[in-house]
């Protein structure tokens, strides 16, 4: 690209961002001549440069905008409409610039529509024009100097100045275009000459070199420690200090004021306030607080999201505010300051704050915690639930925010750069988010471990704790057949060996003793077994070579003080590699047959066990809350039923089949099912395995408690109907407090699923929850049933169906006027963000994993019993 054009694009884009901000300020303070002067100058510069470069379309547009603004300067009152129009014009200029950057020439097209509007606005602006003409004579050409020699292709300032003056205004009337108001012209002239533009590549290179210098110094210091008496000692000390200072200085060049990330916000808030009909003021404090460029890039989006949230959900409507005795204008306050090696960013509003009641409700409905657990929590703890994935208190889906992605996404962004986020809220008074992030990502603290004879660095940010296990330790490694888990403070953590993950050796078995690094990635927690743990060290992250960048397990490499190169493990990659099983709460599929589970969409995880008979039985793993082994002496007989004290409550025990006997001594294996505050233990003889397999179920069992049999791992296996056992434990299992409070009459559901297994599994569950269920096996049948005139309160449909799938069905249903309001809930075994987004588009109310009974019931409840 032409150098001049490139320079122009860079500068213009910067100016335009500034104009955006300034215009919004201008609307608030129309009398401020300084702001107006700034805007005018910026647009004027754009126009002049366009003329110089031969970009007629841009020039015409900038000219029209400028003419309108010169009217403001002459005293025309500034209206919101006028500012909106100018903002439109600026958006159009940005569009053209975008294409200009891509194609290196102006796109074809015409802006006469906008130019006409701008002109009309200018003419209707009433105030007298003659003064403008008079001012045209003001000002003389001042010779301008540039404090460096001209580079080839550059135009001197004088040439540019001439271009400004000579640039003809394409509009017929030529008002005070080229007025040069010298005193206003360059208030920051001094500032400009104190800074220079340096390309990012140069800075990056400098940074690399300094990193290497730091490493070399570390090596030298290492050698020095071994030779006590040396004449090198003093100079080396000096070198060390200078290096540290140099490192500090170079790091500072990567710093940018956080204001850069805020630049677009005033405009966004202004647009939102128009869209939502709220009066919003955006306050910004500490915009010049600096942080690393890389970090800055990555917090831009979360910050924008949070400000949108505040405007949309946080601040009340004008009427509500007046009713609450607050000032009409809502305030969103952004702030930033340094603290230690961190930057603290605050996003606060004086809106309604978090509604604890609603959070509780939502937490209970989605089964994130039980009522008794909530009882014990402080308000602050409950507020933290807003960061849980999938949690949203927004009652409506608006175009602004509340699309089901919310604060959890913000948190995961902040997690990724090693930051933390906290929330303080006072109901009715406002909400205050505090984000704490490290100033830089180039140097991180890492834990050095050894596995399979190699050393690796694990970023300290992801490490929750280190656990050492041996025969006598309190924490033990337990096994569910091949899968190893660690029981840690009553939680089961899936374990994986680092060396098998990295295929360093053939030995896949997890030893009984060793070190376990507990990692947390997003919502997942799992343990990585390593051979040895050394120490933590500040390391300089170097990128992986391009030939090795495809290996998801590593995020980079580094040189240690002793000169050796080690790889930095990427916790995200590890979690993905282990994700399949970590998510289902079981162990790793280490056997190689599992490699054949490529057809993951059609397979489900089944827990295989024996109870009563030698034939295996199975239940979908996701229905099981926990696997337990209870000491038989703890089992009590009360009122003719077996009970056990479990987590402070009495839990009834039910035999998984008639033949099963509760053991007299030793440990009794149980499958625990929980719903809200209740739990039930299903007594089995032996837990055999967890398998991932296709389910071809042959339905048609007459026996209660058995859905049918299927071939699992080549063996006929009975599939247990959990819905049968739950009411045995509590007669009112599903009809408890949930429905008494809400249900007046039986709600009707239409369930669509092509698999007989799911229809048979879900129908009883839904019936037990108090719904009247009609199950059909295809989308076509569902449409036919609906068209026959049957009324349903909600539609629950599978997504992956042959022929017409769930999306198509949802679209078809939404197309019919009389059903357009009917809630639709989709069930699917795969839930990627893309699919969920697609679901939102076709009008699905919710998207639930196929076996997640609790979420399904919760989703139905939120759809059908919405608080009015």
């Amino acid at each position: 690209m032409d150098d001049l054009l490139k320079e122009f694009l860079v500068e213009t884009n910067e100016s335009l961002d500034t104009v955006d901000v300034e215009l919004v300020r201008f609307e608030q303070e129309p009398d401020n001549a300084e702001i107006l002067g700034n805007i005018f100058r910026l647009v004027h510069t754009i126009k002049g440069t366009c003329g110089f470069l031969g970009l007629p379309r841009l020039e015409a547009l900038a000219h029209a905008a400028e003419s309108l603004m010169s009217k403001f300067r002459d005293g025309m009152p500034v209206s919101g409409d006028a500012v909106t129009l100018v903002l439109f014009a600026i958006d159009r200029i940005k569009e053209i610039l975008g294409e200009l950057e891509a194609n290196q020439r102006e796109p074809a097209g015409s802006d006469t529509d906008l130019i006409r509007q701008l002109d009309e606005m200018r003419k209707s602006g009433a105030t007298p024009a003659p003064r403008a003409a008079a001012r045209r004579t003001v000002g003389t050409l001042v010779r301008q100097t540039l404090e460096r020699p001209l580079e080839p292709g550059e135009a001197s300032l004088d040439e540019l100045e001439r271009a400004f003056r000579d640039a003809p205004g394409p509009a017929p009337s030529k008002p005070a275009v080229a007025v040069e108001d010298k005193p206003l012209e360059r208030p920051d002239d001094k500032l400009a000459s104190q800074s220079i533009r340096v390309s990012i590549d140069t800075l990056e290179h400098l940074m690399t070199m300094v990193s290497e210098l730091v490493l070399t110094r570390n090596q030298l210091l290492d050698i020095m420690r071994r030779h006590d008496d040396s004449e090198f000692k003093v100079p080396l000390q000096r070198l060390s200090n200078v290096t540290a200072e140099l490192q500090d200085g170079v790091m500072r060049t990567r710093m940018q004021p956080i204001g850069n990330a805020w630049q677009k916000l005033p405009r966004i808030v202004r647009d939102l306030s128009a869209e939502l009909g709220k009066d919003i003021e955006l306050e910004m404090h500490g915009a010049d607080t600096e942080l690393d460029r890389q970090v800055l890039e990555r917090i831009k989006d979360p910050l924008t999201h949070m400000v949108r949230n505040s405007a949309d959900h946080g601040l009340e409507s004008r009427a509500e505010r007046i009713a609450a005795g607050k000032p009409e204008k809502g305030i969103i306050r952004l702030s930033a300051y340094h603290e230690g090696g961190h930057i603290i960013i605050g996003v606060a509003d004086d809106g309604r704050g978090l509604d604890i009641g609603r959070i509780r409700h939502q937490v209970l409905a989605s089964g994130l915690a039980t009522e008794s657990e909530l009882e014990k929590m402080s308000e602050a703890q409950i507020q933290k639930f807003i960061f849980t994935p999938g949690f949203s208190t927004a009652r409506r889906v608006t175009s602004v925010s509340g699309r089901g992605v919310g604060m959890d996404v913000v948190r995961s962004h902040i997690d990724q750069i090693g930051g933390t986020i906290d929330v303080q809220s006072a109901q009715g008074k406002g909400l205050n988010f505090t984000i704490k992030i490290p100033l830089t990502l180039a140097i991180i603290s890492a834990l050095i471990v050894e596995s399979g004879g190699e050393r690796f660095a694990i970023p300290q940010l992801s490490v929750l704790e280190l656990v050492r296990v041996h025969g006598k330790s309190e924490h033990r490694i337990e096994r569910i057949k091949d899968a190893a888990v660690l029981r840690l403070r009553n939680k089961l953590l899936p374990l994986v060996r680092m060396s098998s993950l990295l295929q360093l050796d053939g030995d896949r078995a997890i030893p009984d003793r060793g070190f376990i690094v507990v990692l947390r990635v997003g919502a997942q927690t799992f343990g990585v077994v390593v051979d040895c743990v050394f120490h933590t060290e500040e390391i300089v992250v170097k990128p992986m070579a391009s030939k090795l960048r495809h290996i998801a397990m590593f995020s980079g490499n580094t040189i240690l003080g002793d000169g050796s190169v080690i790889l930095i493990v990427d916790p995200n990659g590890v979690s993905q590699a282990t994700g399949d099983w970590a998510a289902s709460g079981t162990g790793a599929h280490t056997d190689h047959e599992a490699g054949a589970r490529a057809v993951a969409e059609n397979t489900i995880s089944l827990l295989v066990f024996r109870a009563g008979t030698p034939e295996p039985k199975a239940v979908p793993l996701s229905l099981v809350t926990r696997l337990e082994e209870i000491d038989c002496t703890k089992i009590e007989l009360s009122n003719g039923r077996y009970m056990v004290q479990y987590r402070g409550q009495l839990m009834p025990l039910i035999g998984a089949s008639d033949g099963v006997r509760i053991k007299r001594d030793g440990a009794q294996p149980l499958l625990v099912f929980s719903d809200g505050s209740r739990s039930m233990g299903l007594v089995v003889d032996e837990i055999v395995d967890i398998v991932e397999d296709r389910l071809d179920i042959h339905v048609g069992s007459d026996r209660s408690g058995v859905l049918g049999s299927a071939v699992v791992r080549g063996q006929a296996t009975e599939i247990i109907d959990v819905g049968h056992f739950l009411p045995l434990a509590y007669a009112d299992w599903f009809r408890g407090q949930d429905l008494r409070a809400t249900a007046r009459r039986e709600r009707t559901l239409l369930l669509v699923d092509d698999s007989a297994f799911f229809r048979n599994m879900l129908s009883p569950v839904l019936k037990a929850a108090g719904y009247e269920v009609t199950a059909v096996e295809s989308a076509h049948e569902a449409l036919a049933t609906l068209k026959k005139g049957e009324r349903f309160d909600a539609l629950v449909t599978d997504i992956d169906m042959p022929g017409m799938d769930g999306f198509a069905l949802a679209e078809a249903v939404r197309g019919e006027q009389q059903f357009s309001e009917m809630p639709i809930i989709a069930l699917s075994s795969t839930a990627t963000p893309e699919l969920i987004e697609r679901g939102r588009q076709v009008g699905l109310h919710d998207y639930v994993a196929k076996f997640d009974r609790q979420s399904l019931i919760a989703a139905l409840k939120t759809c059908l019993f919405r608080p009015a």
Binding site: M553, S564, V565
Partner: protein, 122 residues
Amino acid sequence: MFVPARLTRVPLAPPEVAGILNLRGRVVTALDMRSRLDLGARAPDAPVMAIGIEYKSESYGLLVDSVGEVMALRNDACEPKPANLDARLWRVAAGIYRLDGQLMVVLDVDRVLDIKNGAVAA
């Protein structure tokens, strides 16, 4: 030209990648030319040399058995590689020089470094 020391293995990397190492503060990706040319593994205690190259602003080290001499050759003396050249060599060769009494294959750096990223045994 350097003698590679303290090579760090890279798990899950393509087989040609012998590892990464620190060469005066730079992280160098070492490619084993024996593996690249399918010549079979080197004896464990055999001497090894590395040729350092800079390619697309990254550093690579080609591990070889030994280094002969540095020669200045004329570009126009390079002859096209014969069609019946060993397939393993043919893939990475740029051409052939006729020296006194023997032929010498010139390797094409682009092709030598063109290792398939996806070819990892999953």
